[in-house]
Amino acid sequence: MDAAIELEGVERRYGERVALAGVSVSVPEGATLAVLGGNGAGKTTLLRVVAGLLRPHGGRAHVLGAALPDERWKLPARVGYVGHEPLLYRELSGRENLRYHGDLHGVQHGRIQEVLEELEIAGRADEPVRDLSKGLVQRLAIARAILHEPTLLLLDEPRANLDPAAAELVEPLIGRSSGRTRVLVSHDVSGALEESDVALGLKGGRPAPVDAELYR
């Protein structure tokens, strides 16, 4: 099976501070990589490097066949990203936000209604995002990320703010059963390990064994 993500000795710095160093991992197509570690371990930085939002300062990174950072332009159409920020405009309604992102991705408008219904937010889709609860905003963020049917999902705590019923609702869209290649950042170690094929522990930006020491 081809690797969807291939990282070798990837490094990333913010000024003098090393955020990632020596990170190597290979994720086959359709598999899930769980990225685990404490606060400030470099998990979000890794996700942003893989998304093409941050350029690696060292090592080799190939994502969906694109060599980063030079071929970063190949990625956006094939990557769905759920990060800490929902990437939604508060003054626009959920539907307007999805139409905006859908138009940028060349998605048919019929697909927007389909995704809204799948996530059971069609009834609240015409309200401004600023008036919605965090859980509904998170569902909209997931809707935005999957609108263009991406091959690779980059998920940073995707179930944050979701109640158990909503977490179940998003499962076929962003869970293991979606069949997509996924990178999952989570603080729920057992849950993440359960739904992953490959695990990567990070501590201080460097690879570390996934054990009790990871969070100390």
Binding site: P76, L87, Y89
Partner: protein, 224 residues
Amino acid sequence: MIAAARTILRKDLLIEWRTKESVPAMVLFSITVYVLFHFGLDRDSLDGELASGVLWVTLLLAAVIGVSRLFAAEREQGGIDGLLLSPVDRTALFVAKAVALFLFLTAVELVAVPAFGLLLLGPGLGGAFPELLAVLALGNLGVAAVGALVSALAAETRAHELIVPILLLPLLVPVLIACAQATEPLFRQEAGPEDLGRWLGLLTLYDVVFVLLSVAVFDFLLED
């Protein structure tokens, strides 16, 4: 690229329509400055180069507010990431932002220029209106191109509200000179478009250079 620019522009205009954050603030600022000049200069009416200078300094300072807010939604709501995660040419973002700023400036001038005519200008605007429109349009184009560039540059910095005026105003000095010089004869008691062609030519040259320069460097500004 045009379709993406239209999508981003439509979103920006919709957000401005709902929040009313930039244009009303720019209008209010302009009128307040006219009132300050009225009392500061202790004159009931102005004409010639003084009138021209007051009008253009006021409009360019009002533009600083618009430029500071141009990337506010992207900065505060993660919109830049959203755009970088979309398969669109970054030039579309520049075009959309520059057109949005051009429209904001035009909307401000629809109120601020007649207000200037009423509050401060001695000779009246009527006779020189077509020439003034040409100067305003070319001035706005230059401010929009440079403003979109500076706003993008400052968007990811912590001190963006300081960086915008520090970078923007020096870059707009040629616009100020050309606009003020082109407008000055129009604001004389015996109005006449003296040397207008020369200053409009300079403005056009500035606009062409900065539009091309902005398109060329905009991509690099969004690099991390």
